[in-house]
Structure formats: C-alpha cells, structure tokens
C-alpha cells in the first residue's frame, strides 16, 4: 500500500523530466521565427540608423556610410537646440494638461460611473483609436480662419475672429487631443483597483474631501499616473502631425525636423543623427524619470 503510494508519486515526477525538456525545445522553436523577424526588421533597422548617423552625403546626393561625426557636430547648434527645447516644452505641457484632464475624468467614471463605467470608457477609447489624422484634421477644420468657431465668433459680433492655427496653443491642444487617452486609461485602471474604504477612512481622519484626495487617493493611484506620464510623453515628443497640420514653421517640433530631412531635405545622414540624438535624449530622460519614480514608489 505504502509502496504503491510512493511509486504513484514518483512516476509522474520521472515522466515530467523528459517531457519538460521536450516542451522547452518546442517553445524555443516557436520563438525562433518571430525573433528572427524582429532582428531582421526592427533591431537591424535601428542599427542602420545609428550607422548612417556617422555617414555622409555623396556628391551626387546619395547617403553613404562613413565614420564622420560631422552630423552630430551639425546638430549641436542653436537652431536645433532651440527646436529640441521647444519640443520638450510642448511635450511637458501636453503631459501636464493631459493629467489635469485625465484625473477628474477617470475619477468620475471609476468612482461614480456605476453601471455605465464600461460604456463610458468605451466611449472614450473608440474615437481615440480611430484615425489620429482625421481627428487632427477635424481640429484644423474647426479652428481655421473660415471654420465654424471663427464664423461663430464673427456672427456673435464679439471679435473679427481669432487666429488659432499656427500658434503653440493649437499644436499643444492637438497633442492633448491626440494622446490624453493614454493618461486616462492607466489612471482609470489604478482608481478602479483603489479600495474605496481607504477614502472613507481618509475622510474620517483628515476631514474634508480635498485633504483626503491629496493624502489618500492621489498617492494610492501614483503608479497609474506615472505610467500615463510616460505613455503621453513619448508619442507627444516624437509627433510631427499636430505641428504640421495645426502649426507652422515657428511651432515645428523635432519630429518635423526629422521628417523634413527624410522626406523633403533628403539629407538622410543628418536626419539619422537627429533621430539618434532624439532617442538618446529620450532614453536619458526615461532613465532619470524611472529612477525618480521608483524611489518615490518605494517611499510611499
């Protein structure tokens, strides 16, 4: 009896060994093709852009590999640095405005949405995943000099119309309109998980909803907010569509510069250096940000 029990326990153990080895090889095999694909089309493309950033343009205008740092020296000038700072400012403004919008919206839906919660979130997600381009166009149509807003203003007699387009406000507004959903979703997810009895306890302890919010709700949903900041910042910094359609030459961002080098200027090596520079700056910012937020999270 006892022997039988032992043997029953041992047999599957023994049987599992070769099977799990077999499984690992099967899974490893499954990984091979997608990994090869990613190396062939993603990793290698990133390698090429780094290589070409040290390249040069031949006399007949073709990009060629070389080992010159001329492109990096060329991008280290006032014009480009100003553009970089402007992009950074726009992206940070986009993040801040997005957070100010996203938090109350996510809060209302998560804690007061009741049975319409999912429907409301879907009502936000659906237009956001539908054509970014068409949504930017919608703003352009609305804000243009003969658009609905300006003709309304003229008809009301308040003003002769306001130039909205080609201003930083239009570009930042476009970026917020484009990416605010990436802030709403993580904040909503963290508010959903929030134990509401904490808020109750906070109200008993701190008196008043405002102090409760800042000492209980906000810290508890910090992770979602931190995630949202990244998800909005990254696409906003690299965007060129908003500045192209809603802005003008004096609101151009880094993305526009890169796009010009590749699509219009045809200086690919310089464009590559700009792209690599942008990625380097982005990675540095990311590392600093992740360090800072992870210590704060640990302290919390």
């Amino acid at each position: 009896m006892a022997v039988q029990e032992v043997s029953q326990e041992v047999t599957p153990e023994r049987g599992r060994r070769p099977r799990s080895a077999q499984r690992t090889s099967l899974w490893g095999w499954l990984l091979a093709l997608p990994t090869a694909w990613m190396v062939a089309f993603f990793v290698s493309s990133m390698a090429i852009i780094v290589l070409l950033s040290f390249g040069r343009t031949t006399n007949d205008g073709y990009p060629a590999f070389a080992t010159s740092t001329a492109n990096y020296r060329a991008i280290w000038n006032e014009v480009y640095l100003e553009l970089f700072l402007r992009s950074l400012t726009y992206a940070v403004a986009t993040v801040v405005i997005s957070a100010l919008i996203a938090y109350p919206v996510a809060y209302t839906i998560a804690l007061h949405g009741g049975r319409y919660k999912n429907a409301l979130i879907a009502a936000i997600v659906v237009p956001f995943f539908a054509s970014y381009l068409v949504r930017m166009y919608a703003w352009k149509a609305l804000l243009s000099d003969d658009g609905l807003v300006n003709s309304g203003l003229r008809r009301s007699g308040l003003t002769d119309g306001i130039t909205f387009l080609n201003t930083p406000y239009a570009v930042i507004g476009g970026l917020v309109y484009g990416f605010v959903v990436f802030m709403i979703l993580p904040v909503y997810a963290s508010l959903e998980r929030l134990d509401t009895s904490l808020i109750e306890a906070g109200k008993d302890l701190y008196h008043g909803p405002v102090r409760t919010f800042f000492s209980v709700t906000l810290p508890a949903t910090r992770a979602g907010l931190y995630g949202g900041v990244l998800l909005v910042f990254l696409p906003a910094l690299g965007d060129f569509v908003s500045a192209q359609l809603l802005g003008g030459a004096n609101t151009f961002m880094m993305g526009n510069l890169v796009q010009q080098q590749f699509a219009e200027g045809q200086n690919w090596p310089l464009g590559s250096a700009l792209t690599v520079g942008m990625m380097a700056a982005l990675t540095a910012l990311m590392v600093v940000y992740l360090r800072a937020t992870s210590t704060r999270r640990r302290e919390a």
Partner: protein, 279 residues
C-alpha cells in the same frame, strides 16, 4: 453603507470636467461628419443635406485605389502579425530563461519607440537592402510594429488559462504540438479575434509608418488624405474622414465586444487595454 455615503457626494468639479471633456472629444468629429453632408462648399455655414461629396468620392479613382491598397495592407499585416505575435506569446509564456526575457523586452520596444523613429529606421533598412518602396514595404513595417500588440493581448489571455489545461491534454495522450493545436489555440480564439480587429483598425488608420515606407502608387489612404489636408480643408476630405472614422469606430467596438461574446463574464479586450485584469 460606505457605498451610499460615497455616492451621496459627487465631486461636482470632476463631473463638470468630465462633461466638458466628452463634448470636446466629440464636437470636432461630429462637425466633420455634419459638414460632410453639407450641400454647400462652406465649412462654416450649413446649406442643407446632400450626399454630393460622397458621390464625388465614389468617382475619385485615385482615392478608391488608396482605399483598396489600405484594405489589402491591413488584411495582410493583421494575419502576419497574428501568426508571429501568437508564436511569440506562446513561446515567451513558457521560456522563462534569461534569453526569453531579453527577447520579450526587445519585442516590446516598438511600443515605446516614437513612431517616427520606427518609420525612418524602416525606410533606411528597406532602401539599404535594395527593396523598392511599395505596398510590400508598408506591410513589412506594419507587421513589425503590430506584433507587440498581438503578443501583449495573447499573453494576457494565456496568463489566465495557465499551463494546466495543456498539461491535462498531455496526460490524456496528446503530443506537445497536438496540445497546442487542440487545446491552447481554441481557448485563445477570443483574444485572437480581439487582437486581430484592433491591429486591423490601427494599421488601416496608421499614417506615420505608411508615410515613410510607401512607394508612389498606390498610396495608402491616410497618406493620400494627409497630402490633401496639407493644402487646405475641403468638403471631400470631410466625407472620406467621416467614413474612416466610422469604419475604425466599428472595428474598435467589435474588438472590445467580440471577446466578450465568446466568454461571458470573463475579461474583455477593454480590460486588457486598461490593465484591469493584470497585476
């Protein structure tokens, strides 16, 4: 008790912000849709309903070619990324070695790389290896970009069903590949349908990657729309824009709801997008 107390005091300011937000979100889109039905060419005064801009579209062969091109691109890219993304998800779920983690991280990189970087890099790669820019290059770039979406969604679903079901199938005499084919893949169907619809909508609407990797003719629809928007606003773009919005809205609604039909009470793709079921 706690619930009643919480609900009795609504944060008025937050509710107002939310209402304004929804208006801000939908007004521009609704304006585009409304003016696509405008009888006049004006973008600010409405002269009565008419389908003339839609009629123009139907006779615009260049635009129709672009539409067909975009549909082809989205279909092939969706199928390709579903196959590769699912293989990747199945592999990553079980290979827990260091190598597996590195591969997992690399495949997620396209999600955090600004799209313009991915697009420019793809352009350089294709020209570098002598591939002529065409619909094929757009498809290759879109697949590379979409694999990560499929992998994330499928892994979310895999985490829910764990290896036990598969283990049971093995105990009943399945070979490893049979277990995957007969047991794991069928349980993944809702996730695959959801991921497929999402990727189709994303690729169909994608402008940045298509812009950098497309050839001259036929241009994908978003690229053609972009070049006409740059030169100004016109009622015809309102019409095509409305159709694009409608099409992708329908796809996304389906992506959110179809998995739910398969799996009542379970996780929907909405949970995956909001992270509701993770952590």
């Amino acid at each position: 008790m706690a619930r009643a107390r919480r609900l009795e005091r609504k944060p008025v300011l937050a509710v107002i912000v939310t209402a304004v937000f929804f208006a801000w979100l939908y007004l521009p889109i609704l304006a585009v849709a409304l003016f696509s039905l405008n009888d006049k060419k004006s973008l600010s005064s409405f002269g009565g309903f008419s389908l003339r801009w839609y009629d123009d579209l139907v006779h615009n062969t260049a635009l129709l070619d672009s539409l067909v091109a975009s549909l082809k691109i989205a279909t092939v890219a969706t199928l390709g990324s579903l196959v590769l993304g699912t293989m990747l998800a199945l592999g990553l779920e079980r290979v827990t070695s260091r190598r597996g983690r590195v591969i997992g991280a690399v495949t997620l990189l396209p999600l955090v790389t600004p799209e313009i970087v991915t697009g420019v890099a793809a352009l350089l790669l294709f020209t570098g290896i002598g591939l002529k820019l065409s619909m094929t290059t757009v498809i290759l770039a879109e697949i590379t970009f979409s694999i990560a979406y499929v992998t994330v969604i499928v892994r979310g679903r895999l985490a829910g069903i764990a290896g036990e079901v598969e283990e049971a199938a093995r105990d009943l005499g399945c070979t490893p590949s049979q277990a995957v084919r007969l047991v794991t893949l069928p349980t993944l169907v809702p996730a695959l349908v959801g991921a497929g619809l999402l990727v189709f909508a994303l690729v169909f609407d994608d402008f940045v990657l298509a812009f950098f990797t497309t050839g001259v003719d036929p241009q994908p629809l978003p690229v053609r729309v972009y070049s006409s928007i740059r030169f100004g606003v016109s009622p015809a773009i309102n019409a095509i824009g409305t159709l694009m919005l409608l099409a992708s809205a329908l796809l996304i609604v389906a992506a959110l709801w179809v998995p739910r039909l398969f799996n009542r009470g379970g996780a929907s793709s909405l949970d995956l997008i909001t992270g509701g079921d993770q952590r």
